[in-house]
Symmetry: C2
Subunit: 397 residues, 2 copies
């Protein structure tokens, strides 16, 4: 087991231990937000045939303003075009409907007049005007989207247009959350003297769902033996423990991983807050031991748990790390590399970031509004207003 790794090494150690979960098939309605498990190609041209772009008349190349054409047919919804346009012939067509072979353009209903079966055009037209070419949106065989793409509302619309009924996506990671502190009671309970309501469990559950995982359970060491917890973990792909990473009396310590039968990957990393965070692996399941303090618990989630959950879904594990200008100050100097909870706003001059107040590890206050992590290097000086820093924009920022 390695101790006190740099952040990137601990992330790589975790990610090298996993691969994307198996795929599963879901309906199109369930698809938005899920991640494609296979490339998707256009099964046919879209549009599948040349279409009228509006309701009007298909006209031949010789059709022009003022010269009369004879309307010999009106194509209704679903009518096939049959024979080409004859000389001097026009045909009524509908938006999205077929046009006869030999159509040079479609004239809008409002730009033409029909009297006794004779069409007079009121407007100059260019060849191809108001025609949707076959395959102009997607030619057959074109890539629609690649494996590893998160399905947007718009992509689901494209899949619907092609008639895809079942979509192959990566299974959602199952996450079990375990409070190891014996003093932690479920937030629904009225705490006895010395007990503290669980706030990290609801935090990690909500973050997990936002990253695309599903929460199978929140357990409490207070009411379960380690053997029972070990058995319950077998239902999960990822186990997030809370507390028990400091060295005090009251903590089971990071040997928990070994006691539940796992192999430790690292103990501690060079990040503040949350330097005691540990990780292990058990039958392909990742165990991450996060701090029991709210701020380092959140930071550990974003730096270690979220990349694992994204990688398990076949996504790029890492979020963008971008420059931003600080709009306030932070008095402490490094020490180790430090992450602060921040609020970032994209402005005309680039990203601005405010260090949120209440950055003590035990304070919940800054959790309400944060949308980024501010990444201060080891040995950093106190942060001044106007300094450029690197930030990691979080999902839904």
């Amino acid at each position: 087991m390695k101790s006190c790794l740099p952040l990137e090494d601990s992330q790589e150690l975790l990610l090298s231990s996993i691969k994307p979960l198996l795929s599963e098939t879901i309906t199109l309605e369930e698809a938005p937000g899920r991640v494609l498990a296979a490339d998707i190609f256009a099964p046919h041209d879209l549009p599948p045939y040349p279409q009228a772009a509006l309701d009007g008349f298909a006209i031949p190349r010789e059709g022009k303003r003022g010269s009369p054409l004879s309307v010999k047919r009106i194509l209704g919804a679903g009518d096939l075009p049959g024979h080409p346009l004859g000389p001097g012939e026009a045909a009524g067509v509908l938006t999205g409907g077929h046009i006869p072979p030999g159509t040079a353009a479609v004239v809008r209903q409002e730009d033409a007049m029909v009297k006794d079966g004779i069409l007079t055009i009121d407007k100059d037209l260019t060849v191809g005007e108001n025609i949707r070419d076959q395959g102009e949106d997607f030619p057959a065989g074109a890539v629609i989207a690649r494996r590893g793409t998160r399905i947007t509302p718009g992509l689901s619309a494209v899949l619907a247009a092609f008639g895809f009924q079942e979509i192959s996506v990566f299974r959602r990671p199952r996450v079990a959350i375990v409070n190891l502190g014996k003093e932690i009671a479920p937030h629904q309970a009225t705490p006895l003297p010395g007990q503290v309501r669980d706030s990290n469990g609801p935090l990690l559950a909500a973050l997990t769902r936002r990253t695309g995982g599903q929460v199978v359970a929140i357990h409490y060491a207070r009411t379960k033996t380690e053997k029972q917890i070990g058995e319950l973990l077998m239902e999960a792909d990822v186990v997030l423990t809370i507390g028990g990473t400091a060295s005090g009396n009251n903590d089971p310590g990071h040997h928990f991983i070994e006691r539940v039968g796992g192999r430790p990957l690292f103990a501690g990393y060079q990040v503040k807050p949350g330097s005691h965070t540990s990780a292990g692996i058990l039958d392909g399941r990742i165990i991450l031991m996060l701090s029991g303090n709210p701020v380092p618990c959140a930071v550990g989630y974003h730096l270690l748990a979220a990349p694992v959950l994204r990688a398990l879904q076949g996504l790029n594990p890492y979020l963008h790390r971008i420059p931003a200008v600080a709009t306030n100050s932070f008095p402490k100097r490094g020490g180790p590399r430090r992450f602060l909870l921040g609020y970032a706003l994209g402005s005309h001059q680039g990203w601005r970031v405010a260090v949120l107040p209440f950055q003590k590890p035990s304070n919940l206050h800054s959790l309400i509004d944060y949308n980024c992590l501010i990444d201060l290097p080891a040995g950093h000086p106190p942060l001044q207003l106007g300094d450029e820093v690197k930030i990691i924009l979080l999902e839904n920022a």
Copy 2:
């Protein structure tokens, strides 16, 4: 009924016709993503009493490096402190646990040595060090969050810490989607000649869910009479119709609103694409008639439907409209105010935006990736690389 209103006038006309929906009570687990229907105040101090910030020893003001103190008690999890620290006295304390009155600081276990009940401190301490003051995170009565706040994972953690079990949130808007085009078949069906698979229904359903609404049904005029549709609409807060807004043969036209018993609010607005978009109201329900073409259908959703859905949830109806620099060009000139589907990226120098290819109203292609609308004013010149434009960043951009 008004015709061809400017965008802002049409938005205001819609928003002045509605108010936030009634509130409902949900559990904390269901809360993330929902919108608070009432201000929330801290019901008590948090921390509720002065706490040790780590496992160690509570020491009095005279405790300093090298001078021995007598350890007379060890406070276990949940132990109340009772009497103050006596002269020359220290007490064992646990992270988050009580400290005795008269405690000046807490020394970390690793920075002290205890032998035969005598504590020797190995480190200089300042007054207040490693003590969490009562109420330092939230004093009793402090605002935790205001009505109209969307609940973040972190806010749900704060609510859990205070023991809030039931959260009052605005009800999610119920949205019915109706395809008025007789040629539109459900995307699950194999289309007959002349039929087209519904892609706008899945698009609007996914967008509605992302904005916080719930989709009650997707209906098809093909299989239902207007009377039947009118009855079904009574289940919804908002009705989005697709198609039937152009003037062609095949379209029921915007008189649909009157035929189902509603009052038209406006017919058409000064926006391209989608200028035929209409709106009405029926027993407090908003009816929005969006284009049957995918690009104007999406644009109409973002400009008109999303503000309505946000306002019904008690949120600010409008998203930020910010400057960005175009990274490519767009050849057409205005005409009316025009919205393009774009892909925006926040950079060091501010926002950059690419006009996505395939901007014909009938093309689905640009729907896959867009994350913003590019807002070009009426009469705009062709867009050039490097031009500054205004963009509206969409949710989850």
